[in-house]
């Protein structure tokens, strides 16, 4: 975890419908110096924010109150913004064309979050 400074100052968008998990993610990200630019817990809100906010990386929950967040993933891909899926489903729950996106399985530890972010960034 010595190179976590590489994430210092990057702008992160958190899309997660579980408030507590969202809070924990924020806490983890703050610890490594990331800058929170926004959070979204519903699909429509997430789409607007993914389209408009200036973002360096996004953490994307696959299931947003019963709706799949893949439209958000498409927008982020189109904008060339690196992102990771945060999910209780494994990588098997993803559509074939998104299997290459790093997955952070729930529950997770700090180390796993950083690993996933590093994979997305490179």
């Amino acid at each position: 975890m010595n190179d976590t400074h590489i994430f210092a100052g990057i702008r992160v968008l958190i899309i997660e419908d579980e408030a507590l998990v969202s809070m924990m993610l924020e806490e983890f990200l703050e610890q490594i110096g990331c800058k929170m630019v926004g959070t979204a817990s519903r699909l429509d809100d997430a789409i607007i924010k993914a389209r408009s906010l200036p973002v360096d990386m996004a953490l994307l929950d696959v299931n947003l109150a019963g709706e799949a967040s893949f439209p958000v993933a498409e927008i982020l891909t189109a904008r060339d913004i690196p992102f990771i899926f945060v999910t209780g489903y494994g990588a098997l729950g993803l559509p074939a064309e998104m299997r290459h996106i790093p997955v952070l399985p729930k529950p997770f530890q700090m180390a796993q979050l950083i690993d996933a972010m590093r994979m997305a960034a490179y």
Binding site: E18, L20, E27, Y89, K106, P107
Partner: protein
Amino acid sequence: MVAVPFTSPSPTSRAPRRLVTFVTWLAMALLALSGLLAASDGSTHSGFALAEAIVLLALATALFAASVWAKRRIQRDIDAKLYRLERFTQAFGQTQGTLRSIDGRIAFWGTGAERLYGYSEKEALGKNALDLLQTRCPVSLEDINTILVRDGEWQGELTRRHKDGREIHVISKWSLDRGDTGEPEVAIEISTDITSIRLAERQLHQTNALLRAILETAPGLIYAKDMQGRLILANVSTLDLIGKPWSEVEGRTDLDFLDSKTQAESVMANDRRIMDQARTEEFEETISREGRHPRVWSSTKAPLRDAGGKVIGLVGVSVEITERKRIEERLQLMVNELNHRVKNTLATVQAIASQTLRGGDPIVRQNLERRLMALAAAHDVLTRENWEGANIDDVVNGALAPFGEGGDYRFAVSGPSLRLLPRAALALAMGLHELTTNALKYGALSTLAGQVAINWQVVEGAKPLLRLTWTESGGPLVVAPSRRGFGVRLIERSLAQDLGGKASVIFDQPAGIVGTIEAPLADVAVSAEVTPFVQMGAR
């Protein structure tokens, strides 16, 4: 032999002939007598008259002798012919010849007949042929006789009874032999035994009827195709699916009657593989009809062989599993959803704990986090296996994985492969997590040289046991703790309870900590009989 007591069309026809013979004899005798009387009168012509009478008498005697001789010769002739006929028919095995007189009585009985019907010549001769052999004819006797008299012969199939009671089927040919005057004298019969053919036919018919019944009763599709994929047999269910009568599908291929050419080609490719490799296979096939939902079939297809063993096509049975697939898919969806919720809940619990313990002891927070992770890892193993069980190797390796960094060599894992029930898998994963954590803090893993051997085995007996041992070595001197921590209590209490067995952690071993878990195999492992089903379901 005579099957039918042959009734002569005119029983009186011989009487006029006898009458003629009798009148002739009478006339000649009278003539001779008048000659003798004239001679005794002593007239001038008496010498002539006597001589005339003697000549006439001699003539009559000669005529009588000649007729007797001729009759005997004819009889000898007939006998010789019959003998040859019998020899001839004997050469043909079951073929047999018999002769019956005009009143239906058996006049000749060959050895072939004896062999076929079981009656000796002595038993048969003079008996009524029809009665003796309990003959049954395909048409009425009157009809047969009419044909016999009209055409001189009749041919047909008869059912008779052997002396021992068993039924005999013969093909019989009857010929009517007429005397010099053209009157029917004897009927010659030549019969061939076809009992074995008839029995085989009957058996074939029964087998066919049985097959037909199975074919039409079985709920699935049953069909057979030739090497070119053309239908040579299809049951009602198959025809219903195709939606055409047999006359319109016979000799046609899937390309002709399936809506989707792609599916037809796929089915025919499967068929070709079965025939090329001459091997039975089971697989799923999807058939879509226009405007309807696709239906899924589980098909078992086997090569069809001729008597010489050469593959000449295939036979197939297909059972619809559309509904089963739909339920399976829905179940899978629900299991996925449940897994997702469990993991989400664990993440939420983790988040709550994280927030609650904020600013507190980081070790406490880490311990809690790791225990949650161990629980989540065990869930992962079970999720992959649809909660039907987990391989003990996967559970052990999953529990050790977080601690494996830079030191797989520190764990020596060994034991037979076996599948644990979900509850046992979770309990074991948590127990191993605690033992590992303890070893890292105080035991063998707290030093560079320490190692842990994890071994499990099945202890056979009336009630087989699963015994797992955790043996630490190369660590610091073991000191029994003054107070048993949560970890050890979790192992000894919770584990023993969840596994229905007993668990112990021994600290007072100088060499290192030894943990033992013992549980009845039946309570912790998926039983062997169930395993194949589980594996099928998991696929």
